[in-house]
Each structure stands twice: as structure tokens, then as C-alpha cells.
Amino acid sequence: MSGSLIFLIILVAVAGWAMLAYNGLVSLRNQVQNAWRQIDVQLRRRHDLIPNLVEAVKGYMQFERDTLTQVVEARAKAVSAPDQASRMAAENQITAGLGRLLAVMENYPQLKSDQNVLKLQEELTTTENQIAFSRQAYNDSVMQLNTRIESFPTNLIASNFGFKQAEYFQGAPEDQAVPKVDLSMSGAPPRA
């Protein structure tokens, strides 16, 4: 009698734990998906900003035609990318190109007196930052989900209900190697 009671209590406890573990995994997975959407929103906002920025600065920056063209071409590639991998490659090119563009803009004092350019510059700067922070948040969420999926005993639940590890967002290698935009970069040879 008491043996079956103990058995019942253990059964209820295990079922309760399984429920909590499952719900925990679901909420982590949603967090990862939400973080991904955040990145996507920022990337699209950047796509919308680039034509305006190029239009606004091209009159001033005739000597930076290469930088401008690179950004515009990378944007075109990103917008029409057939799959996720090639889109991300193009997005990384935009990040690198815009980083250079924002840096060389410092060499054109006339730009600082153009209110429209200043506004776009702020908008672009915060978009770049928001992309970086969303990516950081996304990777943090991925790490949490993956750790949970791998750890015992949650891994039993994860494998039985088909929870898959999420992929980290990898930035362009050069993007990670440069922690701070160096203003002297305008003199450096342009990288593809």
C-alpha cells in the first residue's frame, strides 16, 4: 500500500519535472526565434537606409566612389539573395562597407554641416549598433538553448520531443577583428 503510494508520488514528481523541462525548452526556443526576428528587423531597416545615405553623401564624396559602390552592390546582393547563407555573406559585406564609409565620412567636414546627413549618420550608427547587440543577444539565447539541450537530464526531453540545437550567428572575420573603427582606415587599402 505505502509502496505503491511512494511509487505514485515519484511518478507525479517526474511528470511534473518533465513538464517544466519541456516548457523551459519551448520558451528558450521562442526566445531564440524572437532574437532572430530582431536581427532581421534591423537588417531590413539598414537596407532601407542605404539608398538615402548614398544619395545624400555622393555629392560630397566623389573620391570614395568605390566604397559607395561596394555598399550598394552588397545591398543588392542581400536583397535578392536566394538563400540564408548567401544573404548573411552579403549582410556581412554591408557591415564592413558601412563601417568603412562611416569612418571615411569623418574626413569630410562639409558633411557635418548637412543636417540631413547627420541625421542619417546617427540613424545608421544606431542601426549598426542594434544589429550588433541583437546578434549578441541572439548568440546568448542560442548558447542557453544549446546548453539546456545538451545537459543531463533535460537532454532526454529534448531528444524525445525533437528540440534541435540552434546555430550561432557568425559575423565576418574582419568584423570581429576590429573592435573599434580606426579613423586612419581611410588610408588603408580597401578590402573586398
Binding site: Q31, A35, Q38, G99, L102, E106, L118, K119, E122, E123, T125, T126, E128, N129, Q130, I131, A132, F133, S134, R135, Q136, A137, N139, D140, S141, M143, Q144, T147, F169, G171, D175, Q176, A177, V178, P179, K180, V181, L183
Partner: protein, 351 residues
């Protein structure tokens, strides 16, 4: 980050628990004070060792305590913002746009909803966050902060405030601010009413007869009267002590979380160093709201005194200590390759 996340859940739980305890203590304290007042005003007397009369003021105090708690929970943010004369930040200047953008950036980094931004028109650089939860949070900065900080430093400061939002410090701090004000108000009222009604002895005198058992009832009344005075004098003091004790450790934790968000110890380090150089107190800060700010806003409160009593009576850890800890973090991170988010702290306006 998995470990940091667990810590954060623990902090949130601790804050929720502390708020409940705070409200419970507050309501009990109020009720006890009301009970004492009942004796002072002779609604209650002790006759032959039992209570006689209707505890009118006890019930009023209980009701007021509950009302004040609800008010501080739902209206606390508005009260605090009104008391420091802050207004909602609008995009009047490019600077203000930058602040709004950085608030947005730090909310993304903290994985939190975007707080509403408020502005205090004061030249002293300072900031605080308030609200009952992250969905109803407010970050308030002074014009002085906007004028002195560049984008990177602003990220450090707002990252610190975002940490208070994420960890539910804002709820605890806000309720302390409003409830402490309530206790101080009540204690003040009681203290005056005691003198008005002729003081402690009154309760004993009135019921006092020549018989022995009546005498003891009078003594009990006098004893409770004394207790009320002691409580009235000590209550604001304890409330203040509580506010100080809970906020100091939080500042270190929020500093660390700010670095977690920006992945850049230099941001907050430089911001605090810059603030350390200025010595102007905030006009609209009071003892009731001082504990909410990123650095102590009161006159002459920013000294580097250490030792038991200095620590016991200050709402903030010494700025020098905080700067030291951040510098240690910077040295630790110095050798490693920067993380993905570090690139985000570039492009400060004007270089």
C-alpha cells in the same frame, strides 16, 4: 552567459521577495502605529487587563497602509518622476535622438522591452531607472549627463540602468522611495499630535484612579505610548537604513551587468571617471530618492570615506571602488579577442 542568466533570475526572485516583505513590514508598522494612536486618543483603553473601545485609528492606519502600498506600486513611477521634475524625453535635438537610440540599443542587448526615456533639466550628470516591471519601466537622464557623455559612455550608463530594469531593482527601489516618504510623513504627523494632546502621560492620567488594578492599566497605556514615540522616531531612520543597505550591493551588480551588455568595460569606466570629476549635486534629488541614482546626487555625499559607519550610512559604494572594479575587468578583458558586440561601441559622434 548561461551562468549570468541564472544569476539574473535569482536577482529577480530576490527582488520580488523583498518587495513583498517590504510591503508586509510597511503595513504591519502602519497598523502598529495606528494601534498606538488609538491609545493616545483614548479610543482604546485597558480596563481590567482587557482592551476596551473601538480601534478606529488602527483600521484607518491599516487601510491607509494598504492604499499607500497600492499607490506606490501602480503610481510610484509617476510620483518619483514628478518629485524630481522630469519630463518625457522628446526629439528636440540630435543629442536627444542619440539618447533615445542608445536606450533602444541597450534594451536589445539586455533582451528587455524598450523603456520610456525621461529628462531632468539639471546640469549635474546623473541617471536613474524606475517602474514596477520591465514592461512599465522608465529611464531618466539629466541634461548634464547628455552634455558630458559621448555615445560610448552613454552606453555604459544606460547599460547600468538597463540592468536595474532587468533585475527588478527598479520595483524595490521605487517602492522604498514612496513608502519611506509615507513613513516619514506619518511619523512626523504622530510626533506633532503627541505634543498636541499633552504627550505620553495623558493616556495613563485619564484612566488613572486610585485603585491598584486601574493603575496597572494606566501603566500599560503609558508603556504603549512610549513605544509609539520610539517607533515614530526610529521608523524613518530604519526605513532609510533599509534603503541604503539594499541599494549598495546592487550598484556593483548593475555595473557588472552593464559590462555584460556592452562587452566593453571602458564605456562605464570612462563615464564614472567623468562623473567623478564633477562635484555638482542635483537640485531636485532628496534623501527619499537618492538611492535610485547611478551616483549619489546629494551634496558632499560622494566622498571616498570607508569603514563601517561610512558604509552603513551611504546609499552608494564609493565611486573610487566602482572605478577600481571596472578597471580590473578591463585588464582582464584586455588580452582576449573582443566579442561580437564590441564592434557596436564604435562611431562616437565627432570621433
Amino acid at each position: 552567459m548561461a551562468a549570468a542568466r541564472t544569476d539574473f533570475w535569482e536577482l529577480e526572485r530576490r527582488n520580488r521577495r523583498e518587495t513583498v516583505i517590504l510591503v508586509a513590514v510597511f503595513i504591519v508598522l502602519f497598523t502598529v502605529l495606528g494601534f498606538g494612536l488609538d491609545f493616545v486618543f483614548h479610543d482604546l483603553t485597558i480596563v481590567d487587563g482587557t482592551l476596551a473601545g473601538f480601534p478606529m485609528l488602527t483600521l484607518i492606519a491599516l487601510g491607509f497602509g494598504i492604499f499607500q502600498s497600492l499607490l506606490s506600486y501602480y503610481g510610484g513611477a509617476s510620483l518619483v518622476l514628478a518629485s524630481v521634475q522630469a519630463r518625457e524625453l522628446t526629439v528636440d535635438t540630435p543629442q536627444h535622438q542619440m539618447v533615445l537610440d542608445v536606450v533602444h540599443e541597450m534594451a536589445l542587448a539586455a533582451r528587455m522591452p524598450v523603456p520610456t526615456a525621461y529628462l531632468m533639466n539639471d546640469p549635474s550628470p546623473n541617471a536613474f531607472a524606475t517602474g514596477r516591471d520591465p514592461q512599465h519601466s522608465v529611464i531618466c537622464v539629466t541634461q548634464g549627463l547628455i552634455d558630458t557623455m559621448d555615445r560610448e559612455e552613454m552606453q555604459g550608463v544606460l547599460g547600468h540602468e538597463m540592468a536595474h530594469v532587468r533585475d527588478y531593482d527598479i520595483r524595490t527601489m521605487m517602492m522604498i522611495a514612496v513608502l519611506v516618504a509615507g513613513i516619514a510623513m506619518l511619523a512626523d504627523f504622530m510626533y506633532r499630535s503627541m505634543w498636541y494632546t499633552g504627550g505620553v502621560g495623558g493616556g495613563g492620567e485619564r484612566s488613572g484612579g486610585s485603585r491598584d488594578d486601574d493603575r496597572s492599566g494606566g501603566n500599560a497605556g503609558a508603556l504603549i505610548g512610549i513605544l509609539v514615540v520610539v517607533l515614530a522616531v526610529l521608523a524613518p531612520f530604519f526605513a532609510q537604513l533599509l534603503a541604503m543597505a539594499v541599494s549598495r550591493q546592487r550598484e556593483y551588480l548593475a555595473d557588472a551587468a552593464s559590462v555584460e551588455f556592452t562587452r566593453n568595460p571602458r564605456a562605464l569606466l570612462r563615464a564614472l571617471e567623468r562623473i567623478a570629476e564633477t562635484e555638482s549635486p542635483l537640485r531636485n534629488a532628496s534623501r527619499g530618492t537618492a538611492h535610485m541614482f547611478i551616483v549619489n546626487p546629494l551634496q558632499g555625499a560622494r566622498d571616498d570615506d570607508e569603514g563601517f559607519f561610512a558604509n552603513l550610512f551611504s546609499t552608494h559604494p564609493p565611486l573610487r571602488r566602482r572605478i577600481e572594479r571596472l578597471r580590473a575587468m578591463l585588464n582582464e578583458a584586455g588580452g582576449e579577442a573582443p566579442l561580437a558586440g564590441a564592434a557596436a561601441t564604435t562611431h562616437t559622434p565627432g570621433g
